[in-house]
């Protein structure tokens, strides 16, 4: 318990210190900057934006966490969510269905497309032993190519001003949000992220599947001896990871943009990897990590507004990840030593004095 709270607290304090130094170096007042970042949350729709972004980051981080649970590094989330979003936008705009059904179909299509984009790396890994980092880096690049191809005007793209977009998704496919008036609109699919996180939490903790996933992650050899089919787990976890990744773009597309455009945001995949590690692959940890990440991301605008270099927020993201993991590591070592001490005490092995009796010299 101590480790779960102590480590992040230490780490955030430490990275805040680092950034304060950087701010001082550039002649800004760290306290003011922090004040601006926090004050910013109360302004306009920023709070709602943070909530919306949190949901998106959560989905990306959950996708990454599913891979991490079994020691797979799915760098391909970036490509998977792009393909998921694009294919879902294309299919969603072509369909006419009653509202709820329409959303569900779009979400399923997005997941399938994301999973499909993870399929090749999964197959290459289990049949040919290709490292997933390498294959997913390649697939990310190729995803850009496919996206550029599909959005060509002779394919599925239409021209809107200087922008290219897919056909807009009809109203029945748009997921309504919670309108908070001046405060903005919370995406309806924020709840999707919550549901995915809850399902993830339960599956990991309570089900055979989660157990097998974690077991293969911790020790592939022990898992194999315990009857876990490692190859199957690799394929399944990469596909599930890809499926969740496919959903990453959905809150924005179904809740706000209603089409895939050239402006479609990039970078959620890499953020997701960082957040999953920050949250220790735990759903609650991921939720808080996403919140922190979203807060930092949104504060870039606020910092820029008061003339503070907004790169500070990026530096802060990097240094928080680094210091959190370092802090975790330190606290883990402390905990392990404490546990060994406890075991030692309980078993009495730490009391050699009664045994002393040797005379050898």
């Amino acid at each position: 318990m101590r480790s779960t709270l102590l480590a992040p607290t230490l780490a955030i304090a430490f990275s805040a210190l680092l950034c304060a130094l950087a701010l001082l170096a550039s002649g800004a007042n760290p306290a003011d900057a922090l004040g601006v970042m926090i004050g910013h949350v109360g302004k306009g729709q920023v709070a709602v934006d943070i909530v919306n972004s949190t949901a998106i980051y959560m989905l990306a981080a959950l996708a990454a966490a599913i891979g991490f649970q079994m020691n797979l590094l799915n760098i391909g989330i970036e490509g998977q969510y792009r393909i998921g979003a694009l294919v879902a936008a294309i299919v969603g705009s072509a369909l006419v269905l009653p509202p709820v059904l329409h959303w569900l179909v779009i979400l399923v299509v997005a997941s399938l497309a994301g999973a499909l984009w993870a399929l090749l790396p999964a197959i290459l890994k289990v049949t040919r032993g290709v490292h997933e980092v390498l294959s997913t880096i390649m697939m990310n690049a190729i995803a850009f190519g496919l996206a550029a191809y599909l959005i060509r005007r002779d394919m599925f793209g239409i021209l809107v001003g200087n922008n290219v977009s897919t056909e807009p998704i009809p109203d029945s496919g748009r997921v309504p949000g919670i309108d908070l008036g001046d405060r903005g609109t919370v995406f309806g699919l924020v709840f999707l992220a919550v549901v995915v996180a809850a399902v993830y939490g339960i599956v990991m903790k309570r089900t055979r599947f989660g157990f097998e996933l974690k077991a293969s992650g911790e020790s592939p050899t022990a898992a194999a001896a315990g009857g876990v089919n490692a190859k199957k787990m690799v394929v399944v976890s990469l596909l599930v990871s890809g499926a969740v990744a496919g959903l990453v773009g959905m809150p924005e597309i179904l809740g706000r943009d209603h089409a895939y455009t050239l402006n479609f945001a990039a970078g959620y995949g890499f953020a997701g990897i960082g957040i999953a590690l920050l949250g220790r692959n735990h759903p609650v940890g991921i939720a808080f990590g996403s919140l922190l990440w979203a807060f930092l991301e949104k504060s870039k605008v606020a910092l820029d507004n008061v003339g503070v270099p907004r790169e500070i927020a990026t530096i802060m993201q990097g240094s928080i990840v680094l210091s959190v993991v370092v802090a975790y590591e330190i606290v883990k070592r402390m905990d392990l030593a404490a546990e060994q001490r406890r075991v030692g005490r309980a078993l009495g092995t730490a009391k050699p004095a009664e045994q002393v009796g040797g005379d050898g010299k």
Binding site: S219, A222, A224, A225, G226, E339, R342, P352, V356
Partner: protein, 520 residues
């Protein structure tokens, strides 16, 4: 106690005084005193976790003592790293091989000692020169991964010789060797002793100790119990010094073998990707209440046999039937569900999830069955309850079932694994080296559990490198060599030496109570 023999004129090769080493929660060494004369083979005995390896690592500079002093050749020294110990003429062959598979023999040997003869032609020449002394006959440019166990052992000794060490620590060098290989090793040691080398020799096998050692020091619970002359004590006395109580042993107790055929293996063949044959058309049958022992030098296919029967490797040909049911195409989980329990040879790699709590380890391999699971959901309460039962029944010494498996000592880890594998009423237990590396008390407990399960009708396939254990527990023994069964021995009459001969392929014509062939 033979202190008087040391001549005052010559200082001892090594003198350890008052060594204490604490680990978190454990005192590994506590006020240890040890004196090793120059030119002797000094054996170190003690039960698991007594602190032998730790003491040697301290002498070798790998760990720093919390208290105490070290003298080498009469000079007080303080090693901060192995490099300094090596400089002082100390070399160490570790309990676990310390070799990099993907480097060549040459590279493994010269690593860290590049200053002596470089890493090129001169070094190669020097290695060729020394190889003879160790009996190693391979090209120095061979990758170590291509070497067998005995050759790896030789490379380890070569590493020590190459550095010009005069004091050589051998930490359980014989654990993985068959009797003939042990004899060869001892030959090497004797001739080197004649050349003036000093040895510190660790072994659990007390007869070996009495064969080779000039002096024996016994360690118990991290401290020296005494130093004795091996010629004047019996193995039993030694053992009692180590344990502090009477020594149990694997005696053979016959129980009737049932008629039901539990496991039938027919024509089992396993090949590697590049088409080498690892298992060559093996047949065997085990009936209920029967223990079938498999003897063999490590690396002759026992691991592969067990893993193929468990479905962890895919057989190229052959069938595996459990109680008449064909499992040839089944996966590991299906085989477990059909009633096979599996004690793997390496519990930390194949048996346990080290960072998970004990109850989670109870679930492994039983994730589809009661009481640890219900449908697709885990039954965590059930798993907890049953873990408590195992802890109770198998005397697993732990402060609770929430601690990580890594916190348990090896023997207790092994008891947990055995308890788990005997849960859920298996009809067949596959036990690979079930007592390897566990201390005497735990060993006896594990033997008892296997015996009583057998009495209830369990069939057991036992693979062990401990020939006494094999002979003591088995109803019949098959000897494996290069992926085939080469002999069939009767445990009531066979001796470890006979078995050893058969295992190396040397003794096929020497013993009458070993029947040739691939029967059964």
């Amino acid at each position: 106690m033979t202190d008087t023999e040391s001549e005052p004129a010559q200082p001892p090769a090594v003198a350890l005084t008052g060594i204490t080493k604490r680990f978190p929660g454990v005192v590994a060494n506590s006020d240890v005193h040890l004196t090793v004369r120059a030119g002797e083979v000094h054996a170190l005995c003690g039960e698991n976790g007594a602190g032998k390896s730790t003491l040697m690592k301290i002498l070798y500079g790998m760990q720093a003592p919390d208290e105490g002093t070290i003298e080498v050749g009469g000079e007080p020294v303080r090693f901060r790293s192995p490099a300094e110990a090596i400089k002082a003429g100390i070399g160490m062959v570790h309990q676990h091989f310390m070799l990099a598979d993907n480097l060549t023999v040459l590279e493994n040997v010269v690593l860290g000692a590049e200053g002596l003869h470089g890493i090129g032609r001169r070094a190669k020449a020097r290695i060729r020169e020394l190889a003879g002394a160790t009996g190693l006959d391979v090209d120095p440019d061979t990758l170590v991964e291509r070497l067998g166990v005995a050759d790896r052992q030789r490379v380890e000794i070569l590493k020590v010789l190459y550095r010009g060490a005069r004091i050589v620590i051998l930490d359980e060098p014989t654990a993985v060797l068959v009797p003939q290989e042990v004899d060869e090793l001892f030959e090497t040691l004797r001739s080197m002793r004649a050349d003036g080398y000093t040895f510190l020799f660790i072994s659990h096998k007390l007869d070996e100790v009495r064969t080779i050692a000039d002096t024996v020091t016994v360690i118990r619970r991290g401290t020296t119990v005494g130093t004795v002359d091996p010629r004047t004590v019996s193995s039993r006395q030694l053992a009692e010094m180590m344990v502090g109580s009477e020594l149990p042993s694997p005696e053979h107790r016959h129980t009737p073998i049932g008629d039901d055929e539990v496991l039938r293996v027919e024509g089992l063949t396993l090949r590697t990707q590049d088409d080498r044959t690892l298992l060559d058309s093996l047949d065997l049958v085990i009936r209920s209440g029967e223990v079938l022992g498999i003897a063999g030098v490590e690396g002759n296919g026992q691991t592969e046999l067990v893993e193929t029967i468990m479905g962890m490797r895919r057989a190229a040909e052959g069938r595996v039937l459990l109680a008449g049911k064909d499992l040839t195409k089944a996966g590991t989980l299906a085989r477990r569900e059909a009633g096979i329990g599996y004690i793997p040879e390496d519990r930390t790699r194949h048996g346990l999830l080290l960072t998970q709590p004990l109850w989670a380890n109870r679930i492994l391999g039983h994730q589809t069955r009661r009481p640890t699971a219900r449908g697709a959901m885990l039954d965590i309460a059930g798993a907890r309850r049953d873990t408590e039962r195992i802890v109770e029944e198998f005397d697993v010494r732990t402060p609770g079932i929430e601690v990580a498996a890594a916190s348990l000592s090896g023997g207790n880890q092994q008891k947990l694994v055995v308890g788990r594998e005997l849960s859920g009423d298996p009809v067949l237990l596959i036990a690979s080296h079930p007592t390897r590396g566990v201390d005497v008390g735990a060993q006896a407990a594990i033997w008892d559990q296997i015996r009583s399960a057998r009495a209830r009708g369990l069939a057991v396939l036992l693979v062990s490198a401990d020939l006494d254990e094999l002979i003591g527990l088995s109803d019949s023994i098959l000897v494996m060599l290069r992926g085939r069964f080469v002999a069939d021995a009767d445990p009531t009459t066979v001796t470890p030496e006979d078995l050893g001969s058969a295992m190396t392929g040397a003794g096929s014509d020497r013993v009458d109570h070993i029947e040739e062939g691939e029967t059964r």
